[in-house]
């Protein structure tokens, strides 16, 4: 059945790309997202009807495409985005998960949320305004999180008469900032999200721009799962020992370690070490309910059987013996502080890394990032949305890795031990690493 093959085939051949928007308030992020969905024919008839009805109720001339993602009552009332909206769409060649993030400084924690899982971040800049405070903050966040692809969208070019000079100046300004932040390979596109120029279709009103439309550019970005050569890491989530609860009699004695490959590839026969204990063994089998695998790549949830009866619990990490990280009980890290209450030196927190949660103390604030000069300055506290460097002491050793080398090995969150709230996004840093650019993690 040809029709069915055509519909089934995309999931076998396309790769998923996760996108997030960023940039200052009102630069046109939600409008751009709406435009992408609309012009790529990913808005269905009833959504379009609802959109037109809603826009008319608000006395607008045409459909306000931002209302496709600004779905909360408060967002519609205020005309701003408050929290991330996730939208899903696909084109002939690729599927996208799109996180439309807020621009307002008060909601930066939501933008960090959207950007943390992104393969590509779209940083919008209003052609009339150029780089603003929030543009700087969001680019710094993108650099810190090491979002693999950064695309600068110079938007609202309709309001500067599609002027090449203005576009070049803004593009240059952003490129300089990105370079100062250590972001390489920034791509830039001039758009009008409102009118649709260069979003899905190339515009003939920007004859001086001969690059791809934004969507064409996104379709061509290298996919996310290309990290096969990275070292194997596997945070253990569950010990599976069914005993009398086995689904079948033959599994009564089964013992396996369930988790998701966080980097590298799991293969039977690989020499591994269990961290933090340091006990060595071998992967005996990579199990799934559908059968054993010869290889489980990054991102796959599986259950490992080990060759020896070793002591493994939730929170342990199974890693290739050859290049296993050393568990540490002190660390340096960059933080995005995301809580209303300020952080001060000496604060007690919980630290979650992979599937492990340990008690920790933020022993020292090493410096806070100044967004104007992009260097660290001494600070006695981190306030909401501050970025800075800290020293940590852990109650139990963890195999923290340098975030620059391994996103999953270096990423952690800080948690309030009383309320359970998430306080900060953390990125571990090789201790004592001296950097050329001081703020670089």
């Amino acid at each position: 059945m040809a029709a069915l093959d055509a519909v089934l085939e995309p999931t076998r051949t396309t790769s998923l790309l996760r996108l997030a928007t960023a940039g200052s308030v009102d630069d046109g992020k939600s409008t751009l997202v709406g435009r992408l969905l609309h012009d790529s024919k990913n808005v269905l008839a009833d959504q379009l009807d609802a959109l037109e009805r809603l826009s008319a109720e608000r006395g607008l001339d045409g459909a306000d495409l931002a209302l496709l993602t600004d779905g909360l009552r408060a967002e519609r009332e205020q005309g701003i985005t408050i929290d991330v909206a996730y939208r899903y769409f696909s084109t002939g060649s690729r599927s996208f998960v799109l996180a439309d993030c807020p621009g307002h400084v008060q909601y930066t924690r939501n933008t960090v949320t959207g950007a943390s899982t992104a393969d590509a971040i779209l940083v919008l800049v209003d052609a009339r305004k150029g780089v603003l405070d929030q543009t700087r903050r969001h680019l710094a966040v993108a650099a810190l999180l090491r979002v693999p692809h950064v695309v600068v969208v110079v938007n609202k070019v309709d309001l500067v008469d599609f002027d090449e000079g203005v576009y070049r100046r803004v593009a240059e300004e952003v490129a300089e900032l990105a370079a100062a932040l250590g972001i390489e390979h920034v791509r830039t596109v001039p758009t009008s999200a409102l009118a649709g120029d260069n979003v899905v279709d190339r515009s003939d009103r920007t004859p001086w721009y001969d690059g791809p439309s934004l969507l064409e550019l996104l379709e061509e970005l290298p996919p996310s799962q290309t990290v096969l050569e990275e070292a194997f890491r596997f945070p253990v989530q569950q010990v599976i020992r069914p005993q009398s609860a086995a689904r079948e009699e033959r599994y009564r004695e089964y013992r396996g370690y369930a988790g998701r490959v966080s980097s590298g590839v799991a293969r039977p026969g690989t020499e591994v070490v269990v961290l933090p204990s340091g006990v060595r063994t071998r992967i005996a089998a990579v199990d799934t309910p559908d059968g054993e695998l010869d290889a489980a790549e990054t991102g796959r949830s599986v259950t490992l059987r080990l060759a020896d009866e070793v002591d493994v619990t939730r929170g342990d990490v199974i890693a290739t013996a050859a290049d296993a990280p050393r568990p540490v009980d002190t660390a340096e890290a960059m933080l995005c502080w995301l809580a209303e209450v300020p952080l001060r030196g000496g604060q007690r927190v919980l630290l979650k890394h992979g599937s492990a949660t340990v008690q920790a103390i933020v022993t020292q604030l090493e410096g806070r990032l100044d967004l104007d000069d992009l260097t660290l300055h001494p600070a006695s506290a981190f306030d909401l949305n501050d970025i800075g460097r800290v020293s940590l002491r852990l109650a139990r050793p963890l195999p923290l890795e340098d975030y620059r080398r391994s996103r999953s090995g270096g990423a952690f969150v800080l948690i309030d031990p009383v309320s359970g709230g998430t306080l900060a996004a953390g990125m571990a840093r090789e201790p004592g690493r001296s950097g050329g650019i001081e703020w670089e993690i």
């Binding site: 519909v7 089934l8 999931t11 076998r12 790769s15 269905l44 008839a45 009833d46 959504q47 609802a50 496709l68 993602t69 779905g71 909360l72 009552r73 408060a74 408050i82 929290d83 909206a85 996730y86 939208r87 899903y88 924690r109 960090v112 949320t113 799962q225 989530q237 569950q238 599976i240 069914p242 609860a245 086995a246 689904r247 079948e248 033959r250 599994y251 089964y254 369930a258 998701r260 089998a285 799934t288 309910p289 059968g291 054993e292 695998l293 790549e297 991102g299 949830s301 259950t303 890394h353 992979g354 599937s355 999953s408 990423a411 952690f412 969150v413 948690i415 009383v418 359970g420 998430t422």
Partner: protein
């Protein structure tokens, strides 16, 4: 003790990714909290969710119960399917009954007869009574614009309420389900799935669904631009003509407000083709309760709804 088949998948495709992401969130929350439960209605999303939970703990059983908030307006075949499924997987079924609440006066039937909004109270009471601290649901972000704003792990306060203006950051795939006593989290492992992903997965995994998801002949009548089935809970009003049509359901909920769509799709493969070429969203096509107002879902969710 060893499994028999060995296969090396050609590559890690989109469905593999979604499956692995969902299983990861399930294992993570179950690893952190004490008393999880899965909301299970027999609808396709909850069936997929339960299937994923079964895979997450294989070859063991799902180590926690499932909860059905029964509106009392169910299709018989869905209830039969529900019972068969929990039996097969060996999980315990808890039922919170909207009918009980109406019978003893704790809830009052709405003038429009719709019972979807009435589910919130029995749900929250069941959560409190069983002290459930992690409540898994099959909601997807692509269903509805308030749901598009949800975290995978989403905090509910002591009143079961969602505060969309003050959600917890959710970073990378490090889930934080911690909370104060009396609070709980809702967990949505299918957050990133679309309707089409769900159907493709059902096809790939050979998952059984209640038969009303496939085209069948049924007595229906038109109301609010939808086809409603003739059931004891949804009877035609004067002037609403009953006709026999070939239909199927895209969502399965309260029979009084869930519409069927005209369809000839009798197999999962045919449903996939149909869904891929549809011009309406599944809720737009089939849910009267979401048409009440622009923010109907947001308002219900703030009160503690699924």
């Amino acid at each position: 003790m060893t499994t028999t088949t060995t296969h090396a998948p050609a590559r890690f495709d989109q469905l593999d990714y979604l499956e692995s992401e969902a299983i990861h969130s399930i294992r993570e929350v179950v690893g952190e909290l004490e008393r999880p439960v899965i909301l299970f209605s027999g609808g396709k999303d909850s069936v997929v969710l339960l299937h994923l939970a079964a895979k997450a703990f294989w070859p063991g059983r799902v180590p926690f119960p499932v909860l059905h908030v029964d509106t009392g307006h169910n299709f018989e075949e869905v209830l039969a399917f529900r019972d068969r499924t929990v039996e097969r997987l060996g999980v315990r079924l808890e039922v919170a009954s909207v009918q009980d609440y109406i019978d003893d006066g704790r809830l009052v039937e709405r003038p429009d007869g719709t019972r979807n909004p009435l589910q919130t109270q029995p749900l929250l009471d069941a959560i409190a009574e069983h002290r459930f601290d992690a409540v898994f649901g099959g909601a997807r972000r692509d269903e509805e614009k308030a749901r598009a704003k949800e975290r995978v792990v989403s905090l509910r306060d002591a009143f079961g309420a969602w505060d969309p203006r003050n959600q917890r950051p959710e970073l990378w795939s490090i889930y934080n389900p911690r909370h104060r006593p009396g609070e709980h989290v809702r967990v949505f492992p299918l957050s990133n799935w679309t309707e089409l992903d769900v159907w493709r997965y059902i096809e790939r995994e050979g998952i059984e669904l209640p038969p009303l998801y496939y085209a069948h002949e049924r007595d229906v009548f038109a109301r609010d631009g939808m086809w409603l089935a003739v059931t004891p809970y949804s009877l035609p009003r004067p002037g609403e003509e009953v006709v026999r049509r070939r239909v199927r359901y895209r969502t399965v909920g309260d029979a009084s407000c869930t519409g069927a769509v005209l369809s000839d799709a009798a197999t999962t493969a045919e449903v996939i083709v149909e869904v891929a070429s549809t011009t309406l969203t599944e809720r737009g096509a089939t849910r009267a309760d979401d048409r009440l107002s622009e923010a109907a879902m947001e308002d219900r969710k703030k009160e503690g709804y699924f």
